[in-house]
């Protein structure tokens, strides 16, 4: 899966916007949106929010977790724990990137948030790599990883699967010898 595809999925996440126009309810395949009243918060999918934002038709209300204090807490938690901690949004990375790129003026302390989310991401991906490493080095057959987000899985999937495959091939080529040994017995 391409990162852009993951991003596409993330665009379905709902965010709150405050529109500056008035519009009736919209009836879309994915569900009804609106009505839009100027000055009143309304929940819309991210893709619409970004579209409206780019046309300067709305102000995006940052999600509740997109707050320096909360993110700091999460970062500390993430650093403290061995395992992956639950993250406030399954698409936190994509949301952060999209919102900060397009609506950084609506998000207080955007730079700090960017750094914090990047920190969290780095910590988690490092953990992921570490666990993959131990998974392989200990020759485990299966492993369970909770609280991973789609984007995180996506970063490692191809590489991990490919490497497992090639390792399998390597091992399989090694295999006959002990098997042959067994035959001898």
């Amino acid at each position: 899966m391409d990162p852009s595809e993951v991003e596409f999925l993330a665009e379905k996440e709902m965010v709150t916007i405050i529109s500056n126009f008035s519009l009736d309810k919209m009836y879309l395949i994915g569900g009804d949106l609106g009505p839009f009243n100027p000055g009143l918060p309304v929940n819309v999918p991210l893709w619409l929010a970004l579209n409206l934002k780019q046309r300067q038709k709305c102000r995006i209300v940052p999600p509740e977790w997109m707050d320096v204090e909360k993110l700091e807490e999460i970062r500390e938690q993430e650093r403290k724990e061995e395992t992956f901690t639950p993250i406030p949004n399954p698409h936190y990375m994509e949301l952060t990137k999209l919102l900060l790129n397009h609506a950084s003026d609506n998000i207080p302390k955007a730079d700090e948030i960017r750094t914090l989310v990047k920190d969290i991401w780095d910590t988690r991906v490092a953990k992921l790599r570490l666990s993959a490493d131990s998974f392989i080095s200990q020759l485990e057959a299966h492993a369970k990883l909770d609280n991973l987000t789609l984007m995180e899985i996506n970063t490692t999937r191809t590489f991990l699967l490919d490497s497992l495959n090639s390792m399998y091939k390597l091992r399989a080529s090694l295999q006959p010898q002990p098997a042959a040994k067994g035959h001898h017995y």
Binding site: I18, N20, F21, S22, L23, D24, K25, M26, Y27, L28, I29, G34, P35, F36, N37, P38, G39, L40, P41, Q56, K57, R59, V61, P108
Partner: protein, 1094 residues
């Protein structure tokens, strides 16, 4: 005498706090671990002045306009009070200072520090520094002897020591406390306190007790205890009279003892059980302010006998006044004067003072006894106290004549703009309303005004420099109105930015006459108004033409405008005991030019003031008081005010508030901004609007009955504006109105069903009286179904009355427009109502049991007839005609929308009518909800209706009013023709919404010939005649006419055909109704019931 515990409020961030009163008791001053000192003008002050003194403040002391704080940065700092300007550092330690206190005359301070030392410093010049060394651990607290002879201190080494200040030596020390290594680990803060004035006793909190040590002998005289105190006592404070001792404990208990009797006279638990770490008495007693380790501030009122303190308070005031004149006399004169004052009452026999006298006298005596070396007479001693202790109440009671015990006048509230935050703020909202936001900035770099519109299609945002210093603003869809107060040189000005003007001059300024200041402004549609300090209301046109001017009966409080309406609140007089006395005026300005409400009192909650007022988007005046109650004008009940929402009920904390920015009646929305710990929001971060629901404060809304009643009355109240808009010539949204009426009738029906279930038949009839005639028929049906014949009988009578009344109404009403409208609403909504019955009945299914099969069939038929009936005159029954039409801007039909109108058609063949009925009903409802949502934005704009009634009926009502006339004809005809047979009211209704029938077509064609034959016939007679002729035609002919009718109405689905068949049935008027008819014409049973009584 129960003390009144006021609710705690957020004061500082979590952590240690301290509190004290200002000398006069007007201000409460707190400090906290956030390093701020806050000055509260009473507990309810929402905008305390904040002074930042350092990183953390551990303790503060206040006297004579000097504010001393002990800070974490190892210093004791001095600030001026109340300005809060830093006035230097009094002393420094090597670690943080823990406690600081003034001596009795405020010339010195003593500070205790974590470096085991106590320092005493002159406040004026930080000279004469004395250091007391001897404690082996950080010093917890210090206390000056009121006679400035001794100083007591408590330390973490477990000792409480008394020092001779002059010699700087320990006089005595008791090892009574638990040892610890630091203040933070100490179980108790151990704040000591000397008995004021005499200094006879020293109170020391020791674990769960408060020990009292006697001066000079330094022996333990008594221990005050209370069973309720379960953890260590943290702080103690003497009442200013020295009679009571208050203590706050770690467990959050506040206890007050009468020291003489050692009785606990008052105990209060902290509302959350937090540790009390600061406590202090009001200088006139009676009130205790306390703070806890969570940063909250609380107040205990009426702690001791209130009458005692009431008189004392007055005495303090008197004393204060005297002290102002003190400079005029020399000491002796003053003394004699005081002497006279204090002697007089001892000989007085006034009843009021009887209870005060003995205690006061006793205490004076005791004071002299233990002052061995003091040979003053008691009165001299009292005088001395007066001189020494500035601001403390003298022990002598006041002269009786000076006591005023009546109600105290309230300070009248200042004029304000609705939706604005206080003017002293640097960044403030000048107005926030449903149009937009005006922000004012007044910092060093910039004095500017930002205007921003919620809907950018009105106008783009504006940034103005505020060179005139505007402080008032209002915003409408047409203009921004700004106003500033006058100065010595410049007159007060009114500036209007008329951005919607079509010429190039978008701005005008008016100077007010000299010495007249604008105090409130508002904008309506095409006009603006300014209320001035000369108690005038000046009306301007939006383009700047001066118009009406009139006087106000009192000082202005607030003004709001909407459309043609002007809403003014002013002071009618002086309020007493915390209440405001406000009056209200409501004008219709432009066309009608009349005063709707003439200065009647404005109802407010107890001891509250007006905090917001304005109009709903639909134009109903409403206002909010400081208790958070929103009241709305009820035009249907003699312009009374109905509370529709209590915003405070939605708050989490007691010091949280909602700041109202707008009220909408359709949909019912109260738009406001939640403010944590304050009454108004800051400009940054940008606050978010939330929507609160309305709720009438009816009784028992938790029960089904209560909640239905609440919904009904709320719905009624929130649809009142339609009548008003109609009467003042505005276009109204018929659809919404119908929806409202339908909702109300529906609620009535539900209540009816509920009362039926509860066997409350009388109540049922009462409810039926509120229903429209059609719904009453449903009610009758319901009653007869549930075998309540007596009820059905009564309802039948009622229905009859209603019909008669309605007919009379229709004959007498002058404006046919309204009548027609209501009628057509009824007929239109009727079909749905009939369907709804299904859902009511669903509740009753269990009761009903068996006879359902046939009924359900009938139900279904109603639906079948009713549904196409809705859009029969739209010529075709594709869903497009019903789907959201004019509001969808480009007129395109959304292919994805789930069309509600399709639903019934697909349901027709089904027999599961009960469920389907409710389903279609809910579909309907949701679809109309869609309309409401979409219209909401536009509702705010009032659309004046130029040549209203005629054009209206012709355009929007065409499809309904057209058939209307014909319907009437039909009605008459059928009643006459069929006599009182089974086709009753409902049958007629099904007739009246039918398309042209064969007979009608025939009639049209043959009318002229008929007329020629019988020129003298009335209209009804013509039809009668025609009917006769038509019946003489052969069946084939009739059929062909029917075919023609069908061709005219276009392709008609099955349902319609059936309707037509039914038509023909009607006209054929078979005496014995065949079974098919029974099936098709649903209402026979019901209508038979209703009209058999004729």
């Amino acid at each position: 005498m129960p003390a009144e515990r006021k609710l705690m409020r957020y004061g500082h961030s979590e952590g240690h706090t301290d509190v004290c009163f200002e000398d006069t008791g007007r201000y409460i001053v707190t400090c906290g671990s956030d390093g701020d000192v806050r000055i509260w003008e009473g507990l309810d002050d929402d905008d305390p002045k904040s002074i930042n003194v350092g990183e953390r403040a551990y303790s503060l002391a206040l006297k004579d306009g000097k504010l001393v704080t002990a800070l974490s940065n190892n210093t004791v700092q001095l600030h001026t009070f109340p300005e809060g300007d830093p006035d230097g550092i009094l002393t420094r330690f090597t670690t943080s200072a823990n406690h600081v206190t003034f001596n009795s005359n405020g010339s010195q301070i003593a500070a205790a520090s974590g470096d085991f030392m106590i320092k005493i410093v002159e406040v004026s010049d930080s000279s004469h520094q004395k250091t007391l060394r001897g404690h082996q651990a950080p010093v917890l607290s210090v206390a000056f002897d009121p006679k400035d002879e001794f100083l007591a201190s408590a330390s973490c080494d477990g000792s409480v020591a008394v020092w001779n200040i002059e010699d700087q030596v320990q006089v005595i020390s008791w090892n009574v406390l638990q040892k610890s290594n630091d203040v933070s680990n100490s179980k108790s803060l151990c704040r000591l306190s000397w008995q004021p004035i005499s200094g006879k006793l020293l109170a020391v909190p020791v674990d769960r007790l408060v020990q009292l040590y006697e001066r000079a002998s330094w022996s333990l005289v008594s221990s005050l205890s209370d069973d309720f105190i379960t953890q260590a006592v943290n702080v103690v404070a003497w009442s200013p009279c020295g009679k009571y001792l208050a203590a706050g404990s770690v467990g959050g208990f506040l206890t007050v003892w009468d020291v003489e009797t050692e009785q606990c006279i008052e105990r209060e638990k902290h509302e959350r059980g937090y540790t009390v770490c600061g406590i202090c008495w009001h200088p006139s007693g009676g009130q205790i302010a306390y703070t806890d380790t969570e940063g909250c501030l609380g107040l205990l009122d009426n702690v001791t006998d209130s009458s005692l303190f009431a008189s004392k308070k007055d005495k303090v005031v008197a004393a204060k006044k005297e002290s102002k004149y003190e400079d005029l006399f020399d000491e002796d004169d003053d003394g004699h004067f005081m002497d006279d004052l204090s002697v007089k009452p001892t000989s007085g026999t006034d009843d009021d003072d009887d209870d005060i006298m003995p205690s006061a006298a006793r205490r004076q005596k005791s004071g002299t006894f233990d002052d061995d070396d003091d040979d003053d007479t008691p009165i001299d001693a009292a005088l001395k106290m007066d001189k020494d202790v500035v601001g403390l109440p003298p022990a002598v009671p006041a002269v009786p004549q000076q006591i005023y015990e009546g109600p105290m006048p309230t300070r009248p509230q200042k004029p304000f703009q609705p939706g604005s935050t206080p003017t002293h703020l640097i960044h403030r909202f000048m107005v926030w309303n449903s149009v937009g936001i005006v922000r004012g900035y007044n910092d060093e770099q910039d004095n500017a005004i930002d205007v921003e519109f919620h809907d950018t299609s009105i106008h783009h945002a504006m940034h103005l420099t505020n060179s005139l210093g505007h402080i008032l603003a209002d915003l409408s869809r047409e203009a921004v109105l700004l106003a500033c107060e006058g100065t010595d040189e410049l007159a007060s000005k009114l500036q209007c930015l008329h951005f919607s003007s079509w010429d190039t001059n978008k701005e005008w300024i008016v100077d007010l006459p000299k010495d007249e200041d604008v105090q409130a402004v508002c904008l309506g549609q095409g006009w603006g108004a300014a209320a001035t300090s000369a108690r005038l209301i000046r009306i301007f046109s939006i383009g700047g033409v001066q118009k009406e001017i009139f006087s106000l009966p009192g000082p202005i409080v607030c003004m709001a405008g909407h459309g043609e309406q002007l809403f003014i609140v002013f002071h009618r007089g002086t309020g007493f005991d915390g209440d405001q006395s406000l009056g209200v005026q409501l004008f219709q300005l432009v066309q009608k030019r009349m005063q709707v409400i003439c200065g009647e009192p404005l109802p407010l909650s107890c001891k509250s003031y007006l905090s917001w007022m304005g109009f709903t988007a639909e134009g109903t005046p409403c206002y909010v008081d400081s208790d958070g109650v929103l009241r709305m004008l009820n035009r249907c009940l003699g312009n009374t005010w109905t509370p529709v929402c209590n915003t405070q009920e939605n708050c989490k904390g007691k010091s949280d508030h909602y700041w109202v920015v707008g009220v909408h009646e359709i949909p019912q929305q109260l738009r406001c901004i939640p403010c944590k710990g304050s009454r108004f929001p800051p400009t940054l971060p940008r606050p978010a609007v939330v929507i609160l629901p309305f709720k009438l404060p009816l009784c028992q809304t938790a029960t089904e009955k209560g909640s239905l009643e609440e919904q009904y009355w709320r719905s009624l109240l929130f649809h009142n504006h339609f009548d008003f808009q109609l009467s003042s010539g505005y276009e109204i949204d018929e659809e919404q109105r119908c929806k409202g009426q339908k909702e109300q009738q529906e609620l009535l029906m539900k209540m009816f069903a509920l009362s039926c279930k509860l066997e409350r038949e009388f109540r049922c009839v009462e409810l039926a009286e509120l229903m429209t005639q059609n719904v009453v028929t449903l009610a009758i049906r319901y009653a007869s179904r549930s075998h309540r014949m007596a009820l059905a009988q009564r309802l039948g009578d009622l229905a009859l009355e209603k019909t008669v009344a309605e007919q009379e109404d229709s004959e007498h009403t002058g404006y046919p427009g309204t009548w027609k409208k209501t009628r057509c609403n009824q007929s239109e909504s009727e079909c749905e109502e009939v369907q709804q019955l299904g859902s009511y009945r669903e509740q009753e299914v269990m009761q009903e049991g068996c006879l359902e099969e046939q009924d359900e069939q009938e139900q279904m038929n109603i639906q079948e007839i009713g549904k196409p009936g809705l859009n029969l005159f739209n010529k075709d029954i594709s869903h497009d005609t019903l789907s959201p039409k004019p509001s969808s801007k480009d007129g395109r039909v959304n292919p994805f929308k789930v069309s509600s109108s399709k639903a019934p058609a697909t349901f027709v063949p089904s027999r599961m009518t009960n469920i389907l009925d409710s389903m279609t009903a809910s579909c309907k409802r949701s679809s109309s909800g869609v309309f409401s949502g979409g219209k909401a934005g536009k509702d705010a704009i009032l659309k004046p209706l130029a040549p209203r009634p005629k054009s209206k009926t012709q355009t929007t009502l065409l499809k309904i009013s057209g058939p209307k006339a014909r319907k009437k004809e039909m009605e008459k005809e059928s009643t006459e023709e069929e006599g009182h047979a089974s086709q009753g009211a409902s049958a007629q209704h099904s007739v009246n919404i039918k398309p042209k029938t064969g007979f009608q077509l025939w009639l049209e064609e043959n009318r002229s010939s008929l007329l020629a034959e019988n020129p003298d016939l009335e209209e009804t007679d013509i039809i009668k005649e025609a009917m006769g002729h038509f019946r003489t035609l052969t069946a084939e002919d009739r059929l062909s006419w029917a075919e023609r009718a069908k061709g005219q109405t276009g392709e008609v689905p099955d349902v319609k055909k059936r309707a037509r068949v039914e038509d023909n049935d009607d006209f054929r008027n078979d005496k014995e109704s065949n079974t098919k008819k029974k099936k098709t014409i649903d209402t026979s049973k019901l209508s038979a019931f209703a009209f058999n009584k004729n």
